[in-house]
Structures are given as C-alpha cells and as structure tokens.
C-alpha cells in the first residue's frame, strides 16, 4: 500500500536523484515522531502509511497538528482489523478525521501526485500551518498502473519554492510542544479550527494556481461536480468511487443524476456542497466507512447540513468489496425513490 511509495522514494534517494535523509524507522509511531522532530527543527518531511500503521500513529497525528507542524503524508486507505483485512476502505483515515489534519481524497493516480505537490504549499502557508494527509484508495489507486504526467523538477520548484521556515535558531531558542492548562488549551484548539477554516481559501487558491501552471485542476479544490447541470438528484462520494460513478453516468447517458465528489473532507466544504445541491430534489451519500451505531459518518455530516431534502445513505466497499456498475444503477434508483433506510451495497 504505502510501501510502494516509500520503496520508490528509497530508490530515488539511493540513486542520488533526490537529496533527502531517508529513515527506516521501527514503527509508524516513530515514523511520525521522526517527522515531528525534523519538521520542528525546520526541514520538509514526508511519510506514508495505511490501515493499522495509521492507527498506531493516531497519537502523533494529534500532536503534530496541535504543534502546527506542516508535515505531509500519504495514506493508502485500507480497512482496520478485526477481522484482519488488507483491502480498501476509509476506516483508517476516518478514524483520524478529528486529528486536526487537512484530509484530501484523490480520485486518480495523477490527482494523488498533483495533490502531494499542492499539499506542501497548503500546509506551509502562513494562514494554515497544519499537516496534510493525502488519501488515496488502497489497491484501487495504490496498486493500479495508469499513465501519469510527472511535471519536471524545475516547474515544481517554481510552484513550490524551497522550505522557508520556521527553522530553529540557537541564538533565539524556543520551547515547542508545551502543555496548556484549562485557561488556554481551548484557545489553542480554536486557533487550530480557525486555521482549518482559513485553509479553505488557501486550498482554492492553490488548486487554481496549479491549474494555471500545469493545466490540471480538480474542481474548485474542495469539491468536483459532474453532470450536475440539469440533475434532479445527486450522489455524493469521495475517492476512486467517483471514477466509477462518472463512467456509469456517461455510459448510460443518465441525465437526472449528477455527481458531487468531495475532495476536501477536512476542512469540510459546507458552503460548496450546499451550493451544488440547491436545485436537486434528493440526494444520496455513498461511502466506504462505518461508524457502528451511527451508520456512515460522511452521510451524517451531509444530513447535518441538508434539512429539507432526503439524503439516502449507502455503505459499500468495506474491506475491499467491489462496488460495481449495477450497484451504481441501483443506488441511483434508491436516490430517486428517496430511500430512507441505510443501504448496504
């Protein structure tokens, strides 16, 4: 899953194509800890993880975001044990949704590459200074070969200049990672939330800037719509499911159902989604996660902001189960019929 990413990175570094320190850590917890130490000293850092590895990292995810360190990581989304399962769903990163990391979900390998480049610029922006998790569907994106345009280093360097700090200074020492009592802890958390809200405009700007320079953009940076022009119904989903949904809509010449793909799960694009669904009668949310006792967490968030329309809830693809073309046809029908009960796809 994530191993492909770090294996390839180790080759690039071993061949001298990239000037970086590569650390073979003994655990994911230490991976994020090494990132913390290095980033706090003042260099760019990167790691990749997945599933149980991300779960082991949870403690450090909160600390890195609380310390406002702009670490970037890729998470190859995979199911959590038990039962043990190595295939794709979003259980791992959904568990970390409140950790204070920006979470960007990608539909294709090309988008994954482009989003990692953008992620550093978003994370390091003075208005943001939060870590970014680039989420890609395990196997569907991590193990599938597809042609990818790799922009040349010079162009990327122009878009993303060298790391500009902060860097620790021995003449002006600082204490980082201090503890805060009841009188100020909440203020730190409010600042984190404010930064997350400011990240909205930064994500938008950087998506636009990237499109201008490289010719590729992903919706408005937070959501992407497809076939929504005359749609009476909408399906909301994320990640590689969107690719299949687009295919089904296109091949079957469906006019009444459109697609809204959420790219930015955190920060959550309330206003953008509201705008996108204003003319539809009903909608549905298809997701690869389960909050036992609640249902789909993404659907719950959408329902929280849509009071006057039916929002059907679909959970599918857990532990790597295929969500097929026929499943989408049925999902579209259920949305049209304003299905109330949770549907297991």
């Amino acid at each position: 899953m994530d191993t492909h990413i770090i294996e390839r990175l180790s080759e690039i570094i071993a061949d001298g194509e990239m000037d970086a320190k590569y650390v073979n850590v003994e655990s994911e917890h230490s991976a994020m800890s090494v990132c913390l130490g290095a980033q706090a000293t003042g260099v760019r850092t990167f790691t990749a993880s997945s599933s149980q590895g991300l779960a082991l990292m949870y403690e450090m995810l909160y600390i890195v975001s609380g310390m406002r360190l702009p670490v970037v990581m890729v998470n190859a989304n995979r199911a959590l044990s038990a039962p043990l399962n190595i295939w794709n769903d979003w259980s791992d990163s959904f568990g970390a949704r409140d950790s204070g990391w920006i979470q960007l979900y990608c539909e294709s390998a090309q988008e994954a590459l482009d989003t990692v480049i953008q992620a550093y610029k978003i994370a390091e922006d003075a208005r943001v200074r939060l870590p970014v998790m680039v989420c890609i569907d395990g196997f569907f994106l991590s193990h599938v070969y597809e042609p990818v345009d790799i922009p040349d280093a010079q162009a990327v360097g122009k878009f993303l200049p060298k790391f500009a700090g902060p860097v620790i200074d021995f003449d002006k020492p600082v204490s980082q990672g201090m503890w805060a009592g009841p009188e100020c802890y909440q203020d730190f958390k409010k600042e984190q939330n404010d930064a997350m809200i400011r990240a909205m405009e930064v994500i938008h700007e950087i998506n636009k800037e990237f499109k201008e320079q490289f010719g590729r953009g992903y919706g408005n940076g937070f959501i992407e719509t497809y076939n929504m022009e005359n749609a009476k119904y909408a399906l909301i989903t994320m990640g590689s499911l969107a690719g299949t949904a687009k295919h089904v809509i296109r091949e079957n010449k469906i006019h009444d159902v459109g697609l809204i793909r959420i790219k930015s799960f955190r920060p959550f694009p309330f206003a953008e989604i509201k705008k996108a669904i204003k003319d539809v009668h009903a909608l549905g949310v298809l997701e690869k996660n389960l909050s036992p006792g609640l249902g789909g967490a993404l659907c719950h968030e959408v329902r929280g902001m849509v009071k006057t329309k039916n929002v059907s809830s679909f959970i599918g693809g857990l532990g790597g189960r295929d969500v097929k073309i026929d499943d989408f046809m049925k999902i579209f029908d259920d949305i049209r019929h304003e299905k109330k009960e949770l549907v297991w796809v």
Partner: protein
Amino acid sequence: MTNETKAKGCEGCALFFQGASNCSGCPETIAVRTILGVAGRNTVIVNATSCLEIFSSQYPNTSWGVNYIHGAFENTAAIAGGVSLALEKQGREANVIAIAGDGGTLDIGLQALSGMLERGEKVCYICLDNEAYMNTGVQRSSATPFGASTTTSPSGSVKPGNLTMKKSIVDIVAAHHIPYIATATVGHVDDLKAKVAKALKKENQPSFIHVLNPCPLGWRFDSWRTVEMARLAVDTGMWILFESEKGKMKITKEVVERKPVEEYLKAQGRFSHLFKPENNHIIKKIQEHMDSEWERTNKMCSE
C-alpha cells in the same frame, strides 16, 4: 529570569531558569543544569512527557534557555533522531539531547529507544531514573527496585511491595553496541559532567547515560537528603558508577568497603515495611542480588 550575571559559576543555571515548579529537593534540576552546563547553548533538548516536562514547560512560561521540544511519552528517542537528521540536512552541528524518565525509557519508550540506537543517530540519550511514575503519583515502573512500596505495588499483609527486580536498561542498551554508555547520579556531579562531555562527542553517539535521581516524594525521605541518598546508593552498591567506551567498560567510582544495603533501605519510607521481622528475607534477597550485580559488573570491567 535570564539574568546571566546571577548565574556566574553555573553556566547551566543560565540555560535552565529559576522558578520551575518542581518539589523541593527534586534532583532533576541538578541533573538538567549539570547537563546544560556541559552542553551549552548550541543544544536541542527533546523531552518525554514527565515530571521535568510538566514543571518546566507550562505555556506561556518556560524554564528552558535552549531550544526545547516535547512531543509525547514514548517517542523521545525517535523525535531526537528526527532533530539530529534535520540538523545534518541543514549542515548545522549542535548537541541533540533526549531526556526521559524511567517510564519513558525502560517501559513505554523502549521500542523507540532501540530503534534510534540501532539506526545510530547522533543523539545523547539521558534517562533520569527516579524508579517509578512520580509525575502521576508514584506508580511502579520496571525500574522500581525489588521490595519498594509504590501506589500500584503497595506493601500489604500478603505482598511486601514490588516483587520484580529492576530492569537492567544498560544491558539492553549495551546489546545495541553503541559507542558510549554510562551510569551516573545527581550526587556525583563531577562524574556526571565528565560523562556528559564524553556522551556529547559525535564519535561517541548514539550515547546513553542512566542517571539515578532520588525522589524525596516517591522514595519518602526528607527533601534536603537528595544528594546524600544518591551517594548512599553508590556506597551500598545499590547503584554502580561505570562507563563503557567503545566496548571497554570501567568502574568510575571505586567503593572499597561497601556498606550493607540496609543503610540505603532504612533511609527511605518506600522500604520501611521491609524492616518488619517477617520481611527480613526480602532484605536478604536484595543484598544477595546486589552482591551478584556487583560481581557481574566488576567482572565485566576487568575483562
């Protein structure tokens, strides 16, 4: 409180300010000021969640006159490794000192410590060992000595306190074949200084120093006796001062006539129950264990 004139004669005092909220008689200020006195300004301290972290870094105040990073409890070695690699990448040379307690080193931090030592990162790791989780109220750790009463290994009518022998962290560290390992106490400051100086040499890193930190609160002795308690530990053979440089081990403080362990035990409330007649065998067992450790260490030093 960065008044450096006040700190004349104590360089470490200028780098770890007055006003920290630790207990009276706390050994950690002695240890930290001694360490910083040797290390100087060009230092990054990476600190585990611990007493030291709590009393020195409450926002918006800090006791630290050097760069200081606290992350979590169990990963001090990994964070310090990250700092060290980042400094190398930036082409800057500085001391990277990881400081953690016995819980943060022998228990929950053991894996990250092993990983950092195995990778050979340029870090000086110092364990300030007060032999229990003092920060959270004197719970037993794997560094708690046999027979000691703590809040999770209390002496009761059936159990006479902690029933396990102190984990030998220096043996575990030694298995990583790192260039420099030493033991020290806050009662032997010159010895600690000399060891920190060696441990900070890049060619000696990763290095490891295990410092005995007698805790008045948890060990239950009067707060003016901290230094005395550290010296008593060495004089009774409960703590052996040695160092290992590139595999060559030597005792750094010879104790010609070891005092019986009773003298150390009776000075501390955590062992007071051992002096009931029915617990005589526990004291005997501690003495035997310390005799064998003494022999084992001396044998290793003569090899």
